[in-house]
């Protein structure tokens, strides 16, 4: 698996975030793309590999290529939900190393907030779930949270702590949508949607886009930014619909994490910052367990006492996460963007000291697809 050694991330950017009613989804993709290329010191003409996924466009790479006026020679629109974009970075690495392209652009954009708050989705009905009034996806994550509480004694306060800690990080990120500090009681007492999850256990519904530029290591080292290297990667899936998740308290992150650590030659104890796809508070608890930061069932206790908050022993979701920073339908690419900024030392007030090894984890569907990437600012020995 040496091919990851020969590529590096050269640029990352967000589009305008939050409430962006004057733009549509491809506008946001293109805006983020131009910003990421600009940061790297590249032009759109340099892009010869294009990667995207979308709930708005059935052919997102084709749509974006037309919009930007580019004619890539390699495209991939792998669609595994919010985790897609972490997988695109790895798939782009393979394409670059095999000579299919040299400068890969991975882009995403969604006007989920402007579109009315519902989850934008290319219609996919499920006759075995739709008739039962199941709020997709909230109730799916509620079912997992309820089972976790039953099996391991995870508490309402521990779920709340995820939202509270994440908001502390968001308070230090000027791009975050919600920055006012909140308490455990605020989370518990916010609108109950589907037990045990309240409104503040759920991610934001925002507009926004993101982009990332990956190229050869050789080329990246001559560009404007400090390169970020990929040490390890893994992906897996266990189900599509929540009815078919083999165990509601074990996710495919167990497999994706194992693959990523093995390739990287590191373990969870080596990770200095973790960016975990927090569509809901329960996600963070599940992923901390499944990625080996604590034992199965101990996620709730692990996060108590501020362990994932600023100053804690494992900084998690340092940008404020999907819960407080932004969540435009699919959040995956934003996990890598923050990992890159932490590794470059660009995160300002929220910068984690001596950060050399970061983990970005994407989630898709209803805990369906899981994708893990280990990143560093140093080349792998």
């Amino acid at each position: 698996m040496s091919f990851f050694k020969d590529v590096a991330i050269a640029g990352v950017a967000e589009s305008e975030l939050g409430n962006v009613p004057h733009m549509n989804s491809v506008d946001l993709m293109a805006q983020a793309s131009v910003r990421a290329l600009q940061e790297a010191g590249l032009k759109k003409e340099d892009v010869d590999g294009l990667f995207s996924s979308s709930a708005h466009y059935s052919m997102p790479t084709v749509t974006l290529a037309e919009y930007m006026g580019i004619t890539p020679k390699y495209m991939d629109a792998t669609s595994i939900g919010g985790a897609s974009f972490v997988s695109h970075v790895a798939h782009a690495a393979q394409a670059i190393v095999s000579g299919m392209c040299e400068v890969a652009l991975i882009a995403y954009g969604s006007t989920q907030r402007t579109d009315g708050g519902g989850l934008a989705n290319i219609t996919e009905s499920n006759p075995f779930e739709d008739p039962f009034g199941y709020n997709d996806p909230i109730t799916a994550y509620s079912l997992a949270a309820q089972r976790h509480m039953f099996e391991f004694g995870t508490t309402r306060d521990q779920l709340s702590e995820v939202a509270v800690a994440t908001r502390k990080w968001a308070s230090m990120n000027e791009k975050a949508f919600k920055r006012d500090l909140i308490t455990h009681d605020d989370v518990k007492n916010s609108t109950l949607i589907s037990t045990p999850l309240t409104k503040l256990d759920c991610c934001l519904v925002s507009d926004g886009g993101a982009a990332l530029v990956l190229t050869t290591r050789e080329r990246a080292e001559k560009l404007n930014t400090k390169p970020t290297y990929i040490w390890g990667y893994g992906e897996s899936t266990t189900h599509r619909s929540i009815s078919n998740m083999p165990s509601l308290v074990h996710t495919a992150a167990i497999e994706s994490g194992k693959s990523a650590y093995q390739m990287a030659g590191v373990g969870p104890e080596d990770i200095q910052v973790a960016e975990l796809y927090d569509a809901f508070s329960i996600n963070v608890i599940l992923f901390l367990e499944d990625l080996g930061f604590c034992k199965k069932g101990e996620g709730g206790r692990f996060i108590s006492n501020g362990n994932i908050a600023p100053g804690g022993k494992l900084p998690v979701n340092t940008n404020g996460g999907g819960l407080s920073y932004c969540h435009p339908g699919m959040y995956g690419l934003f996990t890598i963007i923050e990992a890159v900024r932490q590794l470059r030392g660009e995160s300002g007030e929220r910068q984690v000291d001596n950060c050399n090894l970061a983990l970005a984890h994407g989630n898709g569907g209803v805990l369906s697809s899981e994708v893990t990437m280990v990143l560093s600012n140093e080349t792998k020995s």
């Binding site: 008739p131 709020n135 079912l143 589907s194 009815s243 078919n244 509601l248």
Partner: protein, 139 residues
């Protein structure tokens, strides 16, 4: 008033299952190659890859694997019915689990592990849904 909640597409491989529900029969796919049941109906067994599959009568009993009380609903027809219980029921006798609503039980009394049994809920002239209710006499 006409039923205004989402209805399943009952055509295709699952037609036998849906027709069964309307006749108060709970027909669950069973793989004759690995002798295991599964849900939802498909032409390939998710356990062993076998294709010799038949629908078998199930006794309609199971237990609640997990549940959530929906307090705020975004689903057409359900908005005014809150609170109601969405549950995953593990069916007795094999590896099959399904989503349902728990009826005839106050939401706050629903528990994981609770024994439940099927209730064939007629919703239209063609369709009955598999709802579940607490088993009489408990375990």
């Amino acid at each position: 008033m006409a039923y205004n909640k989402p209805l399943p597409n009952t055509k295709g491989v699952s037609e036998i299952y849906w027709k069964g529900l309307k006749e108060k029969k709970f027909l669950i796919p069973h793989c004759n190659e690995c002798n295991e049941m599964f849900f939802y109906p498909r032409v390939v067994c998710p356990h062993c890859g076998g294709t010799n599959i038949e629908f078998q009568d199930h006794n309609g009993k199971g237990e609640i694997y997990s549940y959530s009380i929906v307090e705020k609903s975004f689903i057409q027809g359900f908005e005014k019915e809150v609170p109601y219980t969405v549950a995953l029921v593990q069916l007795e006798g094999g590896k099959a689990r399904m989503m349902t609503n728990i009826i005839e039980c106050e939401p706050e009394k629903v528990e994981i592990g609770m024994p439940v049994e099927i209730h064939f809920q007629d919703v239209t002239d063609e369709i009955a849904l598999p709802h579940f209710k607490p088993m009489k006499g408990g375990r």
